[in-house]
């Protein structure tokens, strides 16, 4: 009888071990898949930082599409990327009703500043400095919003 009593806590501990093993395995698998997506996005953002005008617009639309397709997962992990995708979409839409003057000093300054913020963001993300990365993305979004306001 005594040996049977111990079966209760023992079975709880064994069931818990199985639960922990399989749950962590599943979460790690999903996390790894999402990490690959984030790494690809960071590569694309770094490339975007070097582009201007038509190339910038085309690349940013592709980035927006990639972010939108992983929106649910990214919302929990990198919400700043999702909000950046929205603002990119707004900016690209604005190009339809207010085309940019090519090679004007103001437009060049816009792309230069966006590029600097993006590079800072990517570099902070690679250093796993989330605070700095979020700060940079907030600054970038504020800058693009100001540009959108100015254009409207």
């Amino acid at each position: 009888m005594n040996e049977l009593i111990i079966a209760v806590p023992l079975s709880v501990a064994i069931a818990f071990s199985i639960y922990v093993y399989f749950s962590l395995k599943r979460i790690v698998k999903q996390t790894t898949a999402l990490s690959t997506t984030v790494a690809l996005l960071l590569e694309k953002l770094q490339r975007l930082a070097t582009l201007t005008y038509y190339d910038w617009s085309r690349e940013s639309q592709e980035i927006s599409k990639t972010i939108e397709s992983h929106k649910e997962e990214l919302l929990n992990r990198n919400p700043e990327i999702v909000s950046f995708s929205s603002i990119l979409r707004y900016y690209n839409d604005s190009l339809g009703w207010a085309p940019e003057p090519v090679n004007e000093p103001e437009t060049n300054i816009f792309y230069k500043t966006v590029g600097q913020h993006l590079e800072e963001y990517v570099s902070a993300m690679r250093r796993a400095d989330r605070t700095r990365a979020t700060d940079e993305m907030t600054k970038l979004q504020a800058f693009i919003s100001a540009e959108l306001l100015r254009k409207s």
Partner: protein
């Protein structure tokens, strides 16, 4: 907010387990009592170390992929450690095994119960 929950869970587990172990140690002859208290120290070490690693994940200083193997081992060992006094009592033919088993069950449940919620927090944070 998740940091506060983690802190509250860990404090409750530490209190419940420390109480359980102290009561068990009082009922045990030597060297069982000393070994039980040493087990309590190991248990508390696993608890604090696990919380530190989880805190790093929540703060974004570390990733789950890095800590998952160590964390799963700590959680599994932590679930089995409270069973030691029962095995000792069985091996030493102590009377009132039921008393030891209920205390062990309380300690195991205290350890196990917050884990699904912690898993949910980690899953949300990691986007899994």
């Amino acid at each position: 907010m998740e940091f506060e929950y983690l802190f509250i869970f860990d404090t409750l587990i530490a209190l419940v387990t420390s109480y359980s172990y102290t009561v068990l140690a009082e009922k045990m002859p030597e060297p069982g009592a000393t070994i039980t208290l040493l087990m309590l120290i190991v248990f508390l070490f696993l608890l604090i170390e696990g919380a530190r690693e989880l805190g790093n994940v929540m703060a974004g200083k570390s990733t789950l992929v890095n800590i998952a193997p160590g964390l799963s081992v700590k959680w599994i060992i932590g679930a089995f450690i409270p069973l030691f006094p029962v095995f000792y009592a069985l091996g030493s033919n102590l009377s009132d095994i039921y008393f030891f088993t209920t205390r062990a069950l309380i300690a195991v449940l205290a350890w196990v119960m917050p884990v699904p919620y912690i898993m949910k927090i980690i899953k949300d944070r990691q986007g899994g």
